[in-house]
C-alpha cells in the first residue's frame, strides 16, 4: 500500500512537471477531496459549486474528472466513492487507475447544458498550458467564446510562454475578447476590437455584436459597429460560395436518387414507380450491415459503408432482376402499364420492409470519416456532404464507363436503339434487358447507402425521393446520363438560391413551376435526343 501510494505520488509529480503550476496549486489529495464532494451533490447548484472549487484549485489533475462528468461517466457508488465508469471498467477519477469494484447500483452525477458550459470553461482554464497544441487551441477557443474575465490571469501566463504561432494568435484573440468587456480603457478596447475584427468569423461577429449592444463608450461602440459591419460583409461574400456548395450537395443527392431511374426509366422506358423502394432497400442493406458489424465485428465499423456498397448493389440489383424477369418482361411495348405493375411492386416492397424491420426509423450511424465539418475560409463543409458529392461523381464516372466502354454497355445501347437488329446480330436481348434493369436497380441501391447517411431509414424513404427523381430525369432529358447529372445539379443549386428568399416551401413550389414551364420550352428536356429515335 505505501509503495502504491508512493507510485501514485510519483505520477503526480510527473504530471505536475508536465503541467507547470499556474498560481494556486493543489495536490492530488486535495483534488480528490474536492472531487469526492460530487458524491453529495444531488442538486445542480451543488454540482456547480464543486466544479467551481475544482477550477479555483487550478490543478490540471482535475481535468479527467471534469471530462468524465461532461461525458456523463462520473458515477457515485453506494458507499460514497466517486468513480469514472468507462465501458465496463471503473476508474479512480483523479489517478485514472482501476478502482475497487462496487456493490450495488452506481448513480450518475447529473449535468445539464449550463453545467457542461461551465465545465468547458473551467477545463479550458486548466488546459491552457497542456503539452498538446491542439488542446491549448481548444482551450483558447473556448475562452474566446465565453470571454470569461476570471481566466484572464491564466491566459496571460499561458500567452507568455506559448511557442506555437497559431495557438498564440488564438490566445491573443481570446485575451482581446476578455479585455473588450473587462477593460474600461478605450485604447485597450480599440486594440481589442481590431484583433477581433481581423479574425473575421462568425464567433468574432458574436463577440463584437454582443459588445456593440452594451458598450458604454460611444467611440468604442462605433468602432465595434464598424468591425461588425466589416465582418458581415466578408461573411456575405462567403455566403454566396456557401450557397453554391449547398446547391451542389443537394444536387448530388438528387442526382444519386435519380441516376438509377435514368437507366430503368430513361434508357429502358419503364415507368419504374418502385425505384424509390430500390433506394430504400439499399439503405436497409446498410442498416443490416452495420447491425451485423456492431454485434459481431465492432472494429470494422469504419468500413461498414464500403462493405454495404457492393451488398446494396447486389440486393437491389437482384430484386430488380427478379422484377424484370417476373413482371416487366411481359410488359415491353406497353410501357404505361409498367407504371401500374411497378406501383404494385412498390406497395409490396414497402409493406414487406415494414413487416420485417418494423415501421420505425432505423439507426444508421455515420463512420468517423463522415462526421463533422471543416472550414474553407468562412465556408463550412460537412464531411458527409463532401463524400456524397465525391461519391456521386464516382458513380457517374463508373456508369459512363460501363455504358460506353464495356461490351455489356455496347449491347445495352444496341438493344435500346434497335432491338430487332441487335437481336439479329446475335445479342440475347432478353438477357440484356434483365441486366440493364438490374444495373439501374443496383445503382439505386448504392444511392440508398449514401442517402442513409443524411436521411431517415424508414419504409417511407423511397416515397420521398420518387417524385424528385422523375423530375430530375425528365428535366435533364430522358435517356441521357449527362442530362441527369446537369439536371440534378441545376435543380439543387436553383433550389438553394431560392430558399433564403422564398422559404423552403415556396422555393420547392417555384422549382416545380419552373420545371413545368421549362418543359414547354423544351418538350424533351435539357439534353433532348435528336434524330429518328425521338418519334
Amino acid at each position: 500500500m505505501p509503495l502504491l501510494r508512493r507510485l501514485v505520488l510519483l505520477t503526480f509529480a510527473a504530471l505536475a512537471l508536465a503541467f507547470p503550476a499556474t498560481g494556486a496549486r493543489a495536490d492530488a489529495a486535495e483534488i480528490s477531496a474536492i472531487v469526492d464532494r460530487f458524491a453529495t451533490a444531488s442538486k445542480f447548484p451543488q454540482v456547480e459549486a464543486v466544479i467551481e472549487a475544482l477550477g479555483a484549485a487550478g490543478d490540471p489533475l482535475a481535468v479527467p474528472a471534469l471530462r468524465a462528468l461532461e461525458a456523463g461517466e462520473l458515477q457515485v457508488a453506494p458507499d460514497g466513492r466517486v468513480v469514472i465508469e468507462r465501458g465496463d471498467a471503473l476508474l479512480d477519477p483523479v489517478t485514472l487507475e482501476a478502482a475497487a469494484p462496487v456493490e450495488g447500483r452506481l448513480k450518475k452525477v447529473r449535468t445539464k447544458n449550463s453545467i457542461r458550459r461551465m465545465i468547458g470553461d473551467v477545463i479550458s482554464g486548466l488546459t491552457l498550458r497542456a503539452p498538446e497544441p491542439a488542446i491549448r487551441m481548444t482551450a483558447a477557443e473556448t475562452i474566446f467564446a465565453s470571454a470569461d474575465a476570471a481566466q484572464l490571469d491564466a491566459l496571460e501566463a499561458a500567452l507568455a510562454e506559448e511557442t506555437d504561432a497559431g495557438v498564440k494568435s488564438r490566445m491573443e484573440e481570446a485575451r482581446a475578447a476578455i479585455l473588450l468587456t473587462a477593460s474600461d480603457d478605450p485604447a485597450v478596447q480599440m486594440a481589442a476590437i481590431d484583433i477581433i475584427a481581423d479574425r473575421g468569423d462568425q464567433q468574432a461577429l458574436a463577440v463584437l455584436a454582443t459588445y456593440a449592444n452594451q458598450a458604454s463608450n460611444a467611440d468604442v461602440q462605433a468602432a465595434a459597429r464598424e468591425g461588425v459591419a466589416e465582418i458581415e460583409s466578408t461573411l456575405a461574400m462567403w455566403q454566396a460560395g456557401q450557397n453554391i456548395w449547398y446547391g451542389v450537395s443537394l444536387g448530388s443527392v438528387l442526382f444519386l436518387a435519380a441516376i438509377g431511374l435514368a437507366i430503368t426509366f430513361g434508357v429502358m422506358g419503364v415507368i419504374n414507380m418502385a425505384h424509390g423502394e430500390m433506394v430504400m432497400l439499399g439503405a436497409y442493406t446498410t442498416f443490416v450491415v452495420q447491425e451485423t458489424i456492431r454485434n459481431s465485428f465492432p472494429g470494422a465499423f469504419e468500413f461498414s459503408l464500403l462493405i454495404a456498397l457492393p451488398l446494396a448493389f447486389l440486393v437491389s440489383g437482384l430484386v430488380g432482376l427478379v422484377m424484370e424477369r417476373g413482371i416487366i418482361r411481359h410488359l415491353y411495348g406497353r410501357p404505361l402499364e409498367t407504371l401500374l405493375a411497378t406501383w404494385g411492386v412498390s406497395l409490396i416492397l414497402q409493406q414487406a420492409v415494414r413487416t420485417i424491420f418494423g415501421p420505425n426509423n432505423r439507426e444508421v450511424g455515420n463512420p468517423d470519416w463522415m462526421s463533422g465539418a471543416f472550414m474553407i475560409g468562412e465556408m463550412s463543409v460537412t464531411w458527409s456532404r463532401l463524400w456524397i458529392v465525391v461519391f456521386a461523381l464516382c458513380v457517374f464516372g463508373a456508369l459512363l464507363f460501363a455504358m460506353n466502354r464495356t461490351p455489356l454497355g455496347l449491347q445495352m445501347r444496341a438493344v435500346t436503339q434497335n432491338r430487332r437488329m441487335a437481336s439479329a446480330m446475335g445479342i440475347r436481348t432478353p438477357w440484356v434487358d434483365a441486366l440493364t434493369f438490374a444495373l439501374g436497380s443496383g445503382i439505386a441501391g448504392i444511392a440508398g447507402v449514401a442517402l442513409s447517411q443524411i436521411d431517415n431509414v424508414s419504409p417511407n424513404l423511397g416515397r420521398t425521393y420518387i417524385i424528385d427523381s422523375f423530375m430530375v430525369v425528365v428535366f435533364g432529358g430522358v435517356g441521357n446520363l449527362w442530362g441527369t447529372l446537369v439536371g440534378g445539379l441545376t435543380l439543387g443549386v436553383v433550389n438553394k438560391f431560392l430558399e433564403p428568399y422564398a422559404g423552403a416551401v415556396l422555393g420547392k413550389i417555384l422549382i416545380l413551376v419552373f420545371i413545368i414551364l421549362f418543359i414547354q420550352r423544351r418538350p424533351r428536356g435539357l439534353f433532348a435526343l435528336k434524330g429518328r429515335a425521338v418519334e
Binding site: 445542480f44 461525458a71 456523463g72 447529473r110 445539464k112 447544458n113 449550463s114 457542461r116 458550459r117 468547458g120 462568425q202 464567433q203 461577429l205 458574436a206 463577440v207 463584437l208 455584436a209 454582443t210 459588445y211 456593440a212 449592444n213 456557401q242 450557397n243 449547398y246 450537395s249 443537394l250 443527392v253 414497402q350 409493406q351 415494414r354 418494423g358 415501421p359 420505425n360 426509423n361 439507426e363 450511424g365 462526421s371 463533422g372 465539418a373 463550412s380 460537412t382 464531411w383 458527409s384 456532404r385 447517411q453 443524411i454 436521411d455 431517415n456 431509414v457 424508414s458 419504409p459 417511407n460 416515397r463 420521398t464 433550389n495 438553394k496 433564403p500 422559404g503 423552403a504 416551401v505
Partner: protein, 428 residues
Amino acid sequence: MKFGRRTVLGAATALATMSLAFAAQAQETIKVGILHSLSGTMAISETTLKDVMLMLIEEQNKKGGVLGKQLEAVVVDPASDWPLFAEKARELIAGNDVSAVFGCWTSVSRKSVLPVFEELNSILFYPVQYEGEESQRNVFYTGAAPNQQAIPAVDYLMNEEGVERWVLAGTDYVYPRTTNKILEAYLKAKGVAEEDIMINYTPFGHSDWQTIVSDIKAFGAAGKKTAVVSTINGDANVPFYKELGNQGVAATDIPVVAFSVGEEELAGLDTEPLIGHLAAWNYFMSADTDANAEFIEAWKAFAGEDRVTNDPMEAHYIGFNMWVKAVEAAGTTDPDAVIDSLIGVAVPNLTGGYSAMMPNHHITKPVLVGEIQGDGQFETVWETPGLVAGDAWSDHLPESAPLISDWRAPMSCGNFNTETGKCGGQGS
C-alpha cells in the same frame, strides 16, 4: 385466363360477404376500436400506439376484463389517409359497435373523425400533444395542450439557460403554426423584441437542412444567447438532427428544444452528437418510478427487447385506465354515461403522480424538460413543481382567450364565451 376468372369471382364473393361481416358480430365482449395508421407516412409513429393498446387490453383481460366481460380489440388501418380515417371511424362505431376508440395522431386525422364521433355519439381518446383550440364532447385529449408543453419549456430556457433570442422552427401545418403563434405572443409579452424571434417553416418530410441550420447558426451569432424551439414533425427530424450534429451546433451553444421528438424518433439516430439538446414532454422513458419500470417491462415482454416507450404511449396508458375506471363506475359502456363519469376520474400516471380528467376533457400532467443522452434516452433536468391542467383554449391568442370549456351540466359546452356569456357553435 381460367385462373384469372376464378380470382375475380372470388373477389366478388368476398365483396358480397363484406357487408355481412360488418353486421354479424357476437355480443359477449366489449369492443374497443383502435384507429391508428399501420401503413403510409404516419405508420412510423402510430403502429407503436396500436401495439401498446393491444398490450393494455390483453393485460386488462388477464385481470378479468371490464364489467365481467372480456375486451376485444378491433384494429383497422386508416393508412395515413385522412378521409379514410372518417370512413374507418364510421365502420368501427356503426359497423363494429365499439364502446370507445383509441386513435389518431395528426390533427387532421382528428378533425376528420370529429363529426363522425359527434354524429354517432361515441368516445375517442386522442393521445398526442396538439395545438389546442378544441374541446369536443366525444373526445378526450390525453396528450398535452400547448400550455402543458410549449410554455413551460420556453420558461425553462428563459430562466435557466438565459435565452434571449429565439428561433421558432416548424413544419408548415396547424400544430406548429398555432404553437408558434402562442409562443410568439407569450415571448413578446415577456419583453422579447420582434427582431429576436425568427420563425421558419419547412414542408413535410423536408430533408435538406443545410441552409436552415446555417441560418440558425448565423442568427445565433448576434451576441445573445439563442435557442431553437422545434415543432418539426416526425420524419423531418432525423435529417435535421444529423445536419445539426454535422455542422457542429452544440447544445451548449444553441440548444434545440423539441416538442415532437421522443424516444421513438431518437431510436433512428446516433445521439452522441446531440447530447444536451432538449425535449419537453409529460413523460420520459427514464422516469424513475415503479409504475414505469413495470410498464417498460411489460412492454418489452410484449413487443420486443429493443423497443422503447414514449409520451403518447403513456397518454394511451392513462386514457385506457381512465376509460376502464369510468366504465366500472358507470356500470355500463353506454357513451353518455361513460362521458359523464369520465370527468373527475384520476388514475396513476407513469411519472409518480395521478392524472385527472378535467371538465374540459383534457387531463392534468406534469411537464418535464429532458436532455438527450448518448444512449437515446432523455434525462429530466427540470419539471414543473405540480401538475398542469390542460387548457383547451389558449390564453395567449386574442380570440380564444375568453373561451372556456366545461362539459359538466349545466354548462355542457366546449367553447363558452365568458364575454358574451354564450356557448359558441350554436349560432346566434
